[in-house]
């Protein structure tokens, strides 16, 4: 599978967040602070984020790894790493 750049990962996350919570303003998200403190996502919304990232990037995110998606930065790191690991 091709490499995923940080920019691509960031764009995929923003697309996903905006489709689920259209009030999200990408420019206002602080990258190293918990996402769910900044965007109102309940467990149903969060599951939809995981499903859409899977659809977009083909990366399967097991439940045990949900903690890796706490902040925008950590989520980007995780997605890039997972793709590189193939």
């Amino acid at each position: 599978m091709t490499m995923l750049t940080r920019e691509q990962a960031r764009a995929a996350i923003f697309d996903t967040l905006c489709s689920i919570a259209p009030e999200v303003d990408a420019a206002e998200i602080v990258a190293d602070q918990p996402l769910r403190d900044q965007v109102d996502l309940d467990s149903f919304d969060f599951l939809n984020v995981i499903i859409r990232l899977h659809e977009k990037l083909g990366i399967d995110i097991p439940e045990n790894d949900y903690g890796e998606l706490t902040t925008l930065d950590s989520a980007i790191d995780y997605l890039v790493r997972r793709r590189a690991a193939g």
């Binding site: 905006c18 919570a21 259209p22 009030e23 999200v24 303003d25 990408a26 769910r36 109102d40 309940d42 467990s43 149903f44 599951l47 995981i50 499903i51 899977h54 399967d60 995110i61 097991p62 439940e63 045990n64």
Partner: protein, 388 residues
């Protein structure tokens, strides 16, 4: 000839506005089919018909505000001949279209893109009054531009939409009316119990590991099933209070309290929760939440919950004591599942724990019976593999 009447879509609904007919005279309809859209304080609701037949006449025109119980249409049921007298000319029925003044049930704040909001500010357009091009869609820059153009030319933006503030205000009023009536009329009693949720969360983690992302279950799903099965053991918590007496319900229609993004909440029912498997419940929950937040609810979901479940989720508080939604007689609350110290056989161990609460109507049940319900719930959650 059978009469199709304005249904009651909640304890405090006195009237509703007919927004749209989905059928025309002469159309054949089947039991359970959505035939009309009615505007209530809780948003636009799709109304089903509960008899099969042929629409003889539409009595009411869209736009009319109709009291609960009034005739909306006449239905010719199977075997009945068509009326010999020429039918009264049917009112002009607009075909259902994206132009219908249907609002989404979801909080409208949520359905606006930041770019549209910014443009609205620049153009001096009240963003709250702009509606998306499609029902359930997101307000885009194009929608804002259209609204700005309409203001300039003096025409109303098409299609019309009520400002969000009014809509939210009306939902607030509906909640206020129902909750005030509840606290005025229902002598609540409250119980709480901590339940060891380690087994159910472990079982769920194992189950979800085997599943594709799209098939994963949320923790609330086995909880819903356990609540429904526990209610079977204490039936005086499941039903409605009507005309000074309790009417138990054989079916468990679980009202799910769902918060809206823009504020407010609704608690429509998932039907027959005790008889469905977890996959079906997850599918029903997904469908229900998606429609609550972006589409429309159906009349049967609004009118027939027999009990309510409020689950404030993984980011919520540890416990919630609910207010009963009349005419129901109980509401079950689930707090956040957290790891807590748990004493077991003389040792203190770390366990995943959830606090389950019950608020119930003392006219119908007593604390002892309510306690048995919570005990049954705790017991059922210790054997999650049985919650199929």
């Amino acid at each position: 000839m059978s009469e199709f009447r304005m249904p009651s879509l909640g304890a405090d609904m006195e009237a509703g506005t007919l927004v749209e007919w989905m059928v025309r005279p002469g159309d054949e309809v089947k039991r359970g089919q959505v035939v009309a859209v009615v505007e209530t304080q809780k948003g636009a609701i799709e109304v089903e018909i509960w008899e099969s037949g042929v629409i003889e006449r539409l009595v009411v025109e869209p736009g009319a505000r109709i009291p609960v119980g009034e005739v909306l249409a006449l239905l010719r049921t199977a075997g009945e001949p068509a009326s010999r007298a020429p039918a009264a000319p049917a009112p002009e029925v607009p075909a259902p279209s994206a132009q219908a003044p249907a609002r989404t049930v979801a909080g409208d704040r949520a359905r606006t893109s930041p770019a549209a909001r910014k443009l609205a500010g620049e153009l001096g357009v009240d963003i709250a009054a702009v509606r998306p091009g499609e029902p359930g869609g997101v307000v885009s820059r194009a929608d804002v531009e259209r609204a700005a153009q309409a203001v300039k030319t003096g025409s109303a933006p098409a299609p019309q939409r009520e400002p969000v503030t009014d809509w939210q205000g009306r939902m607030r009023k509906a909640i206020a009316a129902a909750m005030s009536r509840s606290k005025r009329e229902i002598p609540h009693y409250y119980l709480a119990t901590d339940i060891d949720a380690t087994r159910v969360t472990d079982w769920l983690a194992g189950e979800n590991l085997k599943r594709s992302v799209a098939e994963r279950l949320l923790p609330v799903v086995p909880m819903m099933k356990a609540v429904a099965l526990a209610l079977r053991e204490v039936p005086e918590l499941n039903g409605v209070w009507a005309d000074g007496a309790f009417c138990p319900s054989a079916a468990v229609h679980l009202g799910m309290a769902v918060a809206l993004r823009g504020g407010g909440l609704v608690a429509p029912a998932i039907h027959d929760v005790d008889r469905k498997n977890l996959d079906q419940l997850m599918a029903d929950l997904r469908d229900l939440i998606t429609r609550v937040r972006g589409g429309r609810l159906r009349s049967s979901e609004m009118s027939d919950p027999t009990v309510t479940l409020t689950n404030l989720g993984e980011q919520g508080p540890d416990q919630v004591f609910g207010v009963i939604y009349p005419p129901q007689v109980a509401i079950v609350g689930l707090g956040r599942i957290t790891e807590r110290p748990w004493s077991e056989s003389g040792n203190v161990v770390a366990r995943k724990v959830v606090t389950a609460t019950l608020a119930a109507d003392h006219r119908v049940s007593d604390g002892h019976r309510g306690g048995l319900f919570l005990a049954a719930l705790a017991r059922l959650l210790q054997a999650p593999q049985e919650l199929k």
